[in-house]
């Protein structure tokens, strides 16, 4: 037999590591395929308001002392709010609780056929105000901070613009589109010359989750396959697999959308770009972003393919606030909220910004 020479011990080490990983990959791969859905959203909470598709959670405090102003997080209507609370150690909610915030979250369930008529007015003039009222009652405080993510940010902006004399203290928007014409691919795919929104909504009533999910996946068609290859390669790495499964579950639990809401969003925001032009009217009230005077923070992600910078960037120019700040962070649309860079960058920045304005 030939002897190992020179730097060959390093090669031998590599071969050993690769072999071990192949064995682990096979053992853990089987577990991966047969495992039940990974538990998510584990931070203790109470459902304090529930109406149709809407749920309001109040998370149990994890600090001995909290900031005076309660915090209401508004989830995007297309997905479940457990993105904010994926797993212990990978949870924005847990971080905020431990940082001393009194945290409430608005989550959404799949709208039923009877809820096909929900529209922007329902979300911004009924659901969010009801939740704000509940938060104020439960906390005994006169004001509230709101954090909106993606479409939750859009709804929060409309709420803030139409309730400029309301109890809103601070507003933070995370990857929130305001210039909808900046979402180039979505605009092309929903071109009003070819996409008959009325025929579609009238036929389906509630827009199926598959349709929404396909829309997201078409923006990055190779992402899912590449993700599967990566998880196969990293199958030996328990932390990676756990995180992948949580994200995968979140992606797979995309929600259907109420037809009228989808119709209005497509026509008013995507086609006419009225949030950007300041012409949007909801329930007879102007949703001009210049009406917003409270402190505003906007976090945008460098590699956001769902809400690119062209769509989110103009927010600060449009709001009427004097105290406003934009932070641009590494990461994508989802990893900004729950990825590794969120833990290091976004959560502390958000917590510090809110802390200064929550007393």
């Amino acid at each position: 037999m030939s002897e190992v020479k020179g730097d060959d011990p390093k090669i031998a080490q590599q071969v050993r590591a690769i072999t071990q990983r192949i064995i682990q990959r096979n053992i853990k791969g089987l577990e991966f395929l047969t495992a039940s859905p990974i538990p998510v959203g584990l931070s203790p909470k109470d459902v304090v308001l529930s109406r149709g598709t809407m749920r309001l959670y109040h998370y149990r405090s994890m600090a001995d002392e909290v900031y005076r102003v309660p915090l209401l997080i508004v989830m995007a209507t297309t997905n479940k709010a457990f993105l904010f609370d994926l797993a212990p150690g990978q949870s924005m909610v847990e971080f905020l609780l431990k940082s001393g915030f009194d945290v409430y979250v608005i989550d959404w369930e799949a709208p039923t056929a009877a809820e096909r008529g929900l529209d922007l007015k329902t979300y911004t003039q009924d659901f969010i105000p009801s939740c704000v009222r509940t938060v104020l009652e439960r906390s005994g405080e006169p004001d509230v901070s709101i954090v909106g993510y993606c479409m939750g940010g859009v709804l929060s902006l409309i709420y803030a613009a139409t309730h400029s004399d309301g109890p809103l203290k601070n507003l933070a928007c995370l990857t929130t589109p305001v210039n909808w014409h900046g979402m180039e691919l979505n605009r092309i795919w929903s071109d009003e010359r070819y996409f008959d929104i009325d025929q579609f909504v009238d036929a389906v009533g509630v827009v199926p989750a598959d349709f929404i999910q396909q829309g997201f996946e078409m923006l990055r068609p190779a992402q899912k396959t590449a993700g599967r290859i990566r998880v196969w390669e990293q199958m030996w790495n328990d932390e990676f697999v756990k995180s992948y499964r949580a994200f995968e579950r979140w992606g797979n639990e995309t929600l259907p959308l109420a037809g009228e809401y989808f119709r209005e969003t497509t026509k008013e925001l995507l086609w006419r770009n009225k949030l950007y032009t300041g012409e949007l009217m909801v329930d007879g009230k102007s949703a001009n972003l210049a009406n917003i005077k409270v402190p505003v923070l906007h976090a945008i992600a460098e590699h956001d393919h769902i809400c690119p910078e062209t769509a989110s960037k103009p927010l600060l120019q449009l709001v009427g606030s004097t105290d406003k700040e934009e932070i641009k962070l590494k990461g994508g649309h989802v990893s900004l909220i729950a990825g590794p860079s969120a833990v290091k960058r976004m959560w502390p920045r958000l917590a510090n910004w809110l802390a200064e304005r929550s007393v």
Binding site: E65, E94, A113, R138, D191, Q199, F200, R220, P221, E233
Partner: protein, 138 residues
């Protein structure tokens, strides 16, 4: 002289996957970001929606002929029950509120919790980066 790093197959494979993903996405976005694609996709969507609706209507008629409820009807029934349940809960709460009013009792007090006295790190003199680290959150 710096020691030459041995070839790392794992790293090479990861970079390859990342590059492949980037190239595929870029190519797909170029192909799908055209007016022609939008027209074709929407036409296909329109036909599919029409077919689904026609098939659903046809199945509904057949099931009605056999006096069997369709899936839509069963779902609708379930939803109606859920709505009734929610409305009952709301009525129950309203009745409770009314009885509170009758007895001239103030509305429920805020839910007890920790004191709302926390000061931001900059005012309390604490380290601004004192938010819990990953290790703290075990």
């Amino acid at each position: 002289m710096a020691e030459q790093k041995p070839f790392d197959f794992t790293e090479f494979f990861r970079e390859f996957v990342t590059q492949w993903e980037r190239d595929m996405d870029s190519l797909a976005n170029r192909l799908m970001g055209t007016e022609e694609y939008s027209r074709t996709m929407n036409e296909a969507q329109r036909v599919q929606t029409r077919l689904q609706k026609s098939f659903s209507d046809f199945m509904g008629e057949q099931l009605a002929r056999f006096n069997v409820p369709s899936r839509d009807e069963v779902v609708h029934l379930g939803e109606s029950l859920r709505t009734l349940d929610t409305r009952l809960a709301r009525v129950e709460r309203l009745l409770q509120d009314l009885s509170w009013g009758d007895r001239n009792v103030p509305p429920p007090a805020p839910v007890p919790g920790p004191p709302r006295t926390k000061q931001p790190p900059s005012r309390s003199g604490a380290n601004p980066s004192a938010a819990p680290s990953r290790e703290d959150r075990s």
